[in-house]
Symmetry: C2
Subunit: 190 residues, 2 copies
DNA sequence: CACCGTAGTTATCAACTGATAACCTGTCAA
DNA sequence: TTGACAGGTTATCAGTTGATAACTACGGTG
């Protein structure tokens, strides 16, 4: 039962994916490199060897999460190149709570001078992608990002999404009845 | 030079305020109770005694930050009870980056089952406050919160605000030229 | 003035965690 | 066969850090 040997590149990618999941809970400081390592089935020192520092691993995870969002948007735009299409695509992303939570943790951690530049670049990439794919003007793109941020927070807080908690009155109000059929809302209350 | 003795309640409040500042950088796991203690000029074990656990301190800080936002909104609504007035008030809050960063960290940490309920309650309080103060309907309030979340992230990432970093082209675009005179944008580029 | 409750401290610790160093091992070319 | 490189491990550690325990001191009050 020898563990499958992967190329450094393959292991790298696998670890970044594991890092997104791990950092989603716990955030930057609250996640150990050992947790990421176990999730990928390798030893903790090997993670450090591949990425140098925990910080580099976190930034790689943030960029990976950003890339996933971008990728999903491009796929949506290939079918229909407008904001509505990207909005529907984002509904899919809401189902992957790890991704959104990782992003939100990255944004919060962006206050740290060491992480700020990279995190800002991630945010900028998303903005540019939205504009380039849809041709939306500044105001439209800003509105899209604003809605996206709200949905992201609501998703992270499990107010919307597949694994949403029991819905309280104010949550139903905030979500809005006209959205009740959208699948990103999670199971509707009986 | 005997340190000023405060009542437990006074010290409590002072520590919560210090916690907001401390947790703003570092987040939940990345901030030590000792950092909070030093910020308030007391010993670390005393912080634990007053709050029981680090987690309780964090939640108290999150609720305090929420309360500050609420308070600011109420003051604005006392003069003019509509969304525009609250929006202007929020511009003021953007200058207090610690507050926003604390909130964003709290939202991100809300994915943790132990913190989720309290964080959701904080978010709910803000939503309810906005609606009650302005009489805005669901859609208007949702739009307001969405804009608020975007501004919060932009503030935390120092893309807007008094201590904003050097502005890159996409940032100027995203912020929008029509906002150039607003003081929450920080110093305009020459 | 002696007492006592409240505000605070110092001493201490067990557990954790990122990082380093040294070692192991499969595979493939010559 | 052999060597050598890439992929990976075990051993180890120094620095933290939340929390507990035991002790100290101020200030009002009978």
């Amino acid at each position: 039962m020898t563990r499958t040997r992967l190329t450094a590149e393959e292991r790298h990618e696998q670890l970044v994916a594991a890092a997104v999941t791990a950092f989603a809970r716990g955030g930057y400081a609250g996640t150990t490199t050992d947790q990421v390592a176990r999730l990928a089935g390798v030893s903790q020192p090997y993670v450090i060897r591949l990425f140098g520092t925990k910080q580099a691993l976190f930034l790689a995870a943030a960029e990976h999460a950003t890339g996933r969002v971008e990728q999903r948007f491009r796929r949506a735009a290939a079918e229909q190149a407008d904001l509505e299409s990207l909005g529907i695509a984002y509904d899919d992303l809401l189902a992957e709570r790890d991704l959104l939570t990782m992003l939100l943790h990255a944004f919060a951690a962006g206050a740290d001078p060491a992480l700020g530049p990279t995190v800002r670049a991630c945010f900028g990439r998303i903005y540019r992608t939205v504009r380039e794919l849809t041709g939306a003007d500044e105001d439209e793109a800003r509105g899209f990002l604003a809605s996206g941020m709200l949905l992201t927070v609501l998703g992270v807080l499990q107010i919307i999404g597949p694994d949403a908690v029991a819905r309280e009155p104010w949550m139903t109000e905030l979500i809005g009845v006209h959205n009740e059929k959208k699948d990103w809302l999670g199971p509707a209350p009986e």
